[in-house]
C-alpha cells in the first residue's frame, strides 16, 4: 500500500532533526557554522537566499553533493517552506551524510524573521538577450555586463564627442549616465551631434540626449545636469560617478576637470577635436600622467580656436567619441590596455593614428609631489590674463 505525502514527511521528521531559524542564525554567526545548502530551484534562489548558502537544486542534490560537502560535515538543508529539504535530507542520510538537518519553515520563515538575505545580481531574460554579444566575449561575460550595469559615467558635454560616446555607452548598458551641458540644440549641431534630432532643435541638449538614450535602452538611468560645470559645483557633480568622459569644448572646463579629477581621484577619459584632427588619452589620477603632465598650460586663445571658429569634420567626432566610450568601458571592466600614458593623435585626412608617449612629470603642477592643487579662475587663466603677457613664466 502506497504512502501519502504526509506519511513521507512524518517519516522524515522522525529521522531528520529540524533546526529553527533563530538557531541557524546564531550558529551561522558562530565559529561552528554549518554548511547551508539551498535546494530550491534557480528562480527561487535568484529572488534571495541565506548569505553564504550553497545552491544545489534538489534534483541534482545526490549527484552533486560529493563536490560540495564531506559526509561528516554538519549540513543544514533549506527550501522555501521546509518540506522539500526534509525529504532531501533523508536521501543524504542514506548516502552517509550523518549530520544533516533541515531548516523548519525554510527561507520563507528566515525572511519573515527579519534575517539578512542576499539577492544575487543576475541579468534578466531581457538583458541576457540584449547584451548577448557582450556576454559571449570572455573578457566581458555576464559578470562584466553586470559591472557595466552598475557603473556610473559622467559625460561632460552632450555635443560632438558626447553624442557618440553617450549613445554607445547607453547601448552597452552602462547603468547610469550623467550628462552635463547647459546648451540648447542648434541646427548647426546636427552635422555631428547625432544624439539630437531636427525636431528637438531649441531643447536643452541634456534633455534631448536623455530622450534618445531612454528610447535606446531602458536599463540606463540618465541624470541630465543642464548646468555649466564650474569650480563651485564640479566636486558635487562628479562625486556620484566612477568615470568622467571629457568632451568639453573649451580650455577652462578641461583644466577644471583635470584638477577636479585629481582631487576626487576619478579616471578622466579625454578627447579633443579640431577640423580633421583628434586627440585621445586616459588620465588615471596618481597612477599615470595627468592632463597637466601633458599640457601644463593652455595655449592662448588665438592658438586655441574652438570648433565653432575653426570647424570640425562631423565624422571625426564619431571616431573620437567612440574611442572615449571604448576606453571608459575598459576602465570600468578593468580589461586591456587603456590609453593611460599615451596620447593618440588621429589625422582623418591622412588616415593615420600616431601614438605619443606621455609620462608623469615629476614637476607637474597638477599631480606632482610639490603641486598645490586648488581651483583657480580658469576663465581668466585660459584667456592668458597674467600669463601669456610677455614671457611665459617657468
Amino acid at each position: 500500500m502506497g504512502r501519502t505525502y504526509q506519511d513521507l514527511l512524518a517519516a522524515a521528521r522522525e529521522e531528520i532533526p529540524e533546526v529553527q531559524v533563530a538557531e541557524l542564525a546564531d550558529r551561522l554567526a558562530s565559529d561552528e557554522a554549518p554548511l547551508v545548502i539551498d535546494v530550491r530551484e534557480q528562480a527561487e534562489w535568484d529572488e534571495g537566499h541565506v548569505p553564504g548558502a550553497v545552491h544545489v537544486p534538489r534534483g541534482y542534490l545526490e549527484s552533486r553533493i560529493a563536490g560540495v560537502a564531506r559526509p561528516n560535515e554538519p549540513i543544514v538543508l533549506l527550501c522555501a517552506g521546509g518540506f522539500r529539504s526534509l525529504l532531501a535530507a533523508r536521501n543524504l542520510r542514506e548516502m552517509g551524510y550523518d549530520h544533516v538537518e533541515s531548516l523548519a519553515g525554510g527561507f520563507t520563515r528566515w525572511k519573515q524573521a527579519g534575517n539578512h538575505y542576499d539577492v544575487p545580481q543576475t541579468l534578466t531574460a531581457e538583458q541576457r538577450a540584449r547584451y548577448s554579444r557582450h556576454t559571449l566575449i570572455p573578457e566581458v561575460g555576464e559578470a562584466g555586463q553586470l559591472k557595466l550595469l552598475g557603473a556610473k559615467v559622467l559625460l561632460i558635454g552632450a555635443g560632438g564627442l558626447g553624442s557618440p560616446s553617450a549613445y554607445y555607452l547607453a547601448a552597452a548598458g552602462v547603468g547610469t549616465l550623467g550628462l552635463v551641458d547647459d546648451d540648447v540644440v542648434d541646427a548647426s549641431n546636427l552635422q555631428r551631434q547625432i544624439i539630437h534630432t531636427t525636431d528637438r532643435v531649441g531643447m536643452l541638449k541634456a534633455e534631448s540626449a536623455k530622450i534618445a538614450i531612454e528610447a535606446l535602452n531602458p536599463d540606463v538611468t540618465v541624470n541630465a545636469h543642464a548646468t555649466r560645470i564650474n569650480r563651485d559645483n564640479v566636486l558635487d557633480i562628479i562625486a556620484d560617478y566612477d568615470v568622467i568622459v571629457d568632451g568639453a569644448d573649451n580650455f577652462p572646463t578641461r583644466y577644471l576637470l583635470a584638477d577636479a579629477s585629481l582631487m576626487a581621484r576619478k579616471p578622466l577619459v579625454h578627447a579633443s577635436i579640431l577640423r580633421f584632427e583628434g586627440h585621445a588619452s586616459v588620465f588615471l589620477p596618481y597612477d599615470g600622467p595627468c592632463y597637466r603632465c601633458l599640457f601644463p598650460e593652455p595655449p592662448p586663445p588665438d592658438l586655441a580656436p574652438s570648433c565653432g571658429e575653426a570647424g570640425v569634420l562631423g565624422v571625426l567626432c564619431g571616431v573620437m567619441g567612440n574611442i572615449q566610450a571604448n576606453e571608459a568601458i575598459k576602465v570600468i571592466l578593468g580589461i586591456g590596455d587603456t590609453l593611460s600614458g599615451r596620447l593618440l593623435v588621429y589625422d582623418a585626412l591622412g588616415m593615420s593614428f600616431t601614438e605619443l608617449k606621455v609620462r608623469r612629470d615629476p614637476n607637474c603642477p597638477g599631480c606632482g609631489p610639490d603641486a598645490h592643487l586648488e581651483f583657480r579662475d580658469y576663465d581668466a587663466w585660459c584667456a592668458g590674463i597674467g600669463r601669456h603677457v610677455g614671457a611665459v613664466q617657468a
Binding site: 551641458d181 579633443s272 577635436i273 584632427e277 614671457a391
Partner: protein, 92 residues
C-alpha cells in the same frame, strides 16, 4: 631633412600643408629652418624671451623632447618632429 608635422592651428602659417621636410641636425636647427621659411610660425611658438612657449609640446617620433635632450635633441632624415599644442574642441 626631418619631417615636421604641423598641427591644424599652424597650417595656415606654413601654406596649408600637414607636414613638410625641414633641414637641421637638432630640434633647434629644424625649428630655426622652419622659422626662416615661415616666420609666422615663430610668432606663434616662441615668446618675447626667445623661449618656446610652455603650451607647445614638441615630439621627436613618439617621445617628448622634454624627456630627450630638449632643443639639442639630434634628429636625422628618418625622424618626424611633431608640434603639438593642446586642443580644446569637443562639444560645440
Amino acid at each position: 631633412m626631418s619631417t615636421v608635422r604641423v598641427p591644424p592651428v599652424l597650417r595656415a602659417a606654413v601654406g596649408g600643408v600637414r607636414e613638410l621636410p625641414v633641414p637641421g641636425s637638432t630640434v633647434a636647427e629644424v625649428l630655426q629652418s622652419l622659422y626662416a621659411a615661415h616666420p609666422e610660425v615663430r610668432a606663434q611658438l616662441v615668446g618675447d624671451d626667445g623661449e618656446l612657449h610652455r603650451f607647445v609640446n614638441i615630439y621627436v617620433n613618439d617621445e617628448d623632447v622634454r624627456l630627450l635632450g630638449w632643443l639639442d635633441t639630434s634628429v636625422d632624415d628618418s625622424d618626424t618632429l611633431l608640434i603639438l599644442p593642446a586642443m580644446a574642441g569637443g562639444a560645440r
